[in-house]
């Protein structure tokens, strides 16, 4: 950096600089480490430099004249400087700028230049504003008055002191109860909204703003940090976004439009009053509305009222722009549905940051919703595939006719994907195999295991007529495939219609009921056996029972007997057996459907597990 004659740096103190009449660029160059003290002055002998002595350890001091404070975005420059010294989260920095901007405005306008709040409120536009300041700034005494900004890091956060050389200030002095920080027309409301703590010191000449930097933001800001705009590629989304700017002042609209275009917003619409605003919304729906509150004719409040009554427009986020720090007005706007408030005078950093924040959040929500829909569709597909594995009504009918039996089945996964499956395998004219498998857990992993099992069964089909051998071979396969802790219970039964027998093998499947002949009482059958998929050397027992015409075989998963029923406890295996013994159930044309109807009436809640069952009854 070439030597600038205006700048006098102390050789013995590289942390100090004395600068004459700095402009914004000059400040930006100097408000960087190792500088801790930057004072506007003519030289090292300038009395202003005496301020240095009072700077706290580890603190920063910027001292400028009113003329400079008017010409330069002081709050922004100071915050950038602080951020170069201390790690400050982005959203805290914006809060700091917003609050500091108010404090500096106060110090300049009301403090040093002695412009009253009422005078300020009477100002209608930027030109009148400049004019109002011209006279006091022309007074060399007032223009030379200083504004000091001092940053002091402390345990409870960072405190910034803004000091002016005006007459001091006591909010609501003379009000019964004494002075207190309430509505004052000095942006105290705004400062309180963006700083952790606000204090007035030294007769009101110093405003102390404390910012809590240690607090963990556990609201949306933290979430936004975890998944930044970069992760979600906001660019194209911003290009497609449409923002509507509503303000009666054309210059304001154009300025804001410029800022928004600058951050990549593709479409910025404008409206000069409430009516035009509603017309614009009807013409093209914006993603966000920036709404000035104080407009002639149809003001911001009325617009908010209308928007909340419109079902389509109600969900569009609205940022209300207001110079008022009247808490009532702000609360009213919020009550009428405003999403957030941005204070005037507007700063591009605050406006663009807030706009980006809301659009980013919307984008994340859209991404999430899109993902949910896609996953939902994929799960739907997988669910259909699972359903296809299991015999459908047409296949069941064919089997019934072929083997002369009634086959009643139910297949109800508890979530999109289940761990249950059942099947029927014709083994020639006289033999039919039925199996029911229940994989541990549910959801995607259990469903994957179901597909594995069905594939293995297809491969080992030739062993199906021999239940024990079949199970042992399947077990060998699954042991190689399944991780520890995953397993299945499985029962595989072969009905021989010619030999009137039932041969089965079971891997810990408890849900087996058999009756012998039409009058035989239905009873639980022994399903003892090692879980399938745990130990590769497992051996399975083959059991043989009489199965004359009229006999029934019922296979069912544990959802049926482990679901709580009214009266306490679960249905239990004996409970299912008793239901199956009921006359109205065992004589029903569709016995399983009848049993489930009775079961559902007794269950306190729908089963939380996959419910699969099949009832075969020989004619």
């Amino acid at each position: 950096m070439k030597a600038n004659p205006r700048i006098q740096a102390y050789e013995e103190r590289p942390d100090v600089a004395v600068v004459a009449a700095p402009d914004a660029a000059c400040l930006d160059a100097f408000l960087r480490p190792p500088r801790r003290i930057v004072v506007e002055g003519t030289g090292r002998d300038d009395p202003a430099t005496r301020r240095m002595a009072a700077v706290r350890d580890g603190g920063l001091l910027l001292s400028v004249t009113s003329a400079t404070a008017f010409a330069v975005p002081l709050a922004k420059a100071f915050c950038a400087w602080v951020a170069r010294w201390h790690a400050i989260p982005a959203d805290r920095l914006i809060d700091m700028e917003t609050a500091l901007h108010e404090a500096v405005s106060n110090a300049l306008l009301h403090g040093n230049l002695e412009i009253s709040s009422t005078d300020l409120e009477a100002i209608e536009d930027a030109d009148a504003y400049a004019a109002a300041l011209k006279a006091p700034l022309a007074d060399p005494r007032l223009a030379a008055r200083r504004i000091d900004l001092e940053a002091d890091p402390a345990d409870d956060g960072l405190t910034v002191y803004v000091t002016d050389e005006g007459a001091g200030y006591a909010p609501n002095a003379g009000v019964p109860g004494g002075p207190h920080l309430e509505w004052s027309g000095r942006g105290l409301g705004i400062m309180r909204a963006h700083a952790h703590r606000v204090r007035l010191l030294d007769g009101g000449r110093t405003t102390a703003l404390t910012f809590d930097l240690t607090a963990v933001a556990d609201g949306p800001a933290a979430g936004a940090e975890a998944m930044s705009a970069a992760d979600v590629d906001l660019g194209p989304y911003l290009e497609e976004s449409r923002v509507l700017v509503v303000d009666d002042d054309e210059i304001n609209r154009l300025i804001v439009q410029d800022w928004l275009n600058g951050i990549g917003i593709g479409q910025v619409d404008q409206a000069a009053d409430g009516l035009e605003c509603l017309e614009q919304i009807a013409r093209a729906r914006p993603s966000l509305i920036l709404l000035d509150l104080a407009m002639p004719r149809f003001d911001g409040f009325q617009v908010l009222e209308h928007l909340s009554a419109m079902p389509d427009a109600r969900t569009i986020p609205v940022f209300v722009l207001t110079a008022w720090d009247d808490r009532e007005a702000r609360n009213r706007a919020l009550r009428l549905g405003a999403t957030n408030l941005i204070s005037k005078p507007l700063s591009p950093e605050v406006v663009t940051a807030r706009v980006l924040e809301v659009l980013e959040r919307r984008r994340l929500l859209d991404v999430l919703k899109g993902y949910q829909e896609r996953v939902g569709q994929e799960l739907e597909q997988a669910r259909d595939m699972q359903r296809d594995l299991v015999p459908d009504d047409g296949q069941i009918l064919t089997l019934e006719q072929r083997y002369g039996c009634c086959l009643d089945a139910v297949f109800r996964p508890s979530s999109e994907l289940g761990g249950d499956t059942w099947g029927a395998m014709p083994l020639g004219t006289d033999k039919l195999a039925l199996f029911l498998a229940d994989f541990s857990g549910h959801g995607v992993s259990a469903a994957i295991n179901v597909f594995r099992l069905q594939a293995a069964m297809e491969d080992l089909k030739s062993l199906a007529p021999e239940p024990a051998a079949f199970l042992e071979a399947l077990n060998g396969r699954l042991c190689r495939l399944l991780p520890v802790g995953q397993f299945a219970t499985l029962v595989h039964a072969v009905v021989d219609f010619a030999a009137d027998s039932l041969t089965y093998a079971s891997a810990a499947a408890s849900g087996i009921l058999v009756s012998h002949g039409a009058d035989g009482a239905i009873d639980l059958a022994d399903g003892e056996g090692l879980l399938l998929g745990v130990r590769s050397e497992a051996r399975y027992v083959e059991r043989r029972l009489a199965f004359p015409p009229g006999s029934s075989l019922v296979l069912f998963s544990d959802a049926l007997y482990e679901t709580p029923v009214t009266g306490g406890g679960n249905l239990d295996l004996e409970g299912v057996r008793d239901l199956a013994r009921r006359d109205d159930v065992r004589h029903a044309r569709r016995p399983l459907a009848r049993l489930l109807a009775v079961f559902e009436a007794a269950a306190t809640n729908p089963p939380s597990d996959d419910l699969t069952a099949v009832w075969l009854r020989r004619r």
Binding site: F487, E528, G529, L530, D558
Partner: protein, 102 residues
């Protein structure tokens, strides 16, 4: 589900209370961590105070067995002489997978 852990010489005794189902994965993980932390070589799991256990619970016990095997420790279960849990373990011949004591 809740559990209590007590050290008894070279043995760590864990008593389970409540229901052992699919939802208890994290509790079981924590339990395994605690058991490994004791340095005990014998892990004993008492199921007498469990109200209910389903087949997913069996899966969690199998995972505990693997964790014990990996740590070079011996795991055994203490199971009530009758009731739902005994039945579940009998039908699955679970004693062949994890030693069971009354």
């Amino acid at each position: 589900m809740a559990y209590t852990l007590a050290r008894d010489g070279d043995r760590a005794n864990v008593t389970l209370k409540g229901r052992l189902t699919f939802q208890e994965q994290m509790s079981v993980k924590q339990m395994i961590g605690d058991l490994q932390g004791t340095g005990a070589k014998q892990w004993s799991l008492d199921l007498h105070q469990l109200e209910f256990m389903d087949s997913a619970g069996l899966g969690l016990l199998l995972r505990m067995k693997k964790a014990a095997d990996d740590a070079g420790c011996r795991l055994n279960l203490r199971v009530p002489g009758e009731g739902q849990i005994k039945r579940l373990m009998d039908v699955a011949k679970f004693a062949e997978l994890v030693p069971i004591e009354p």
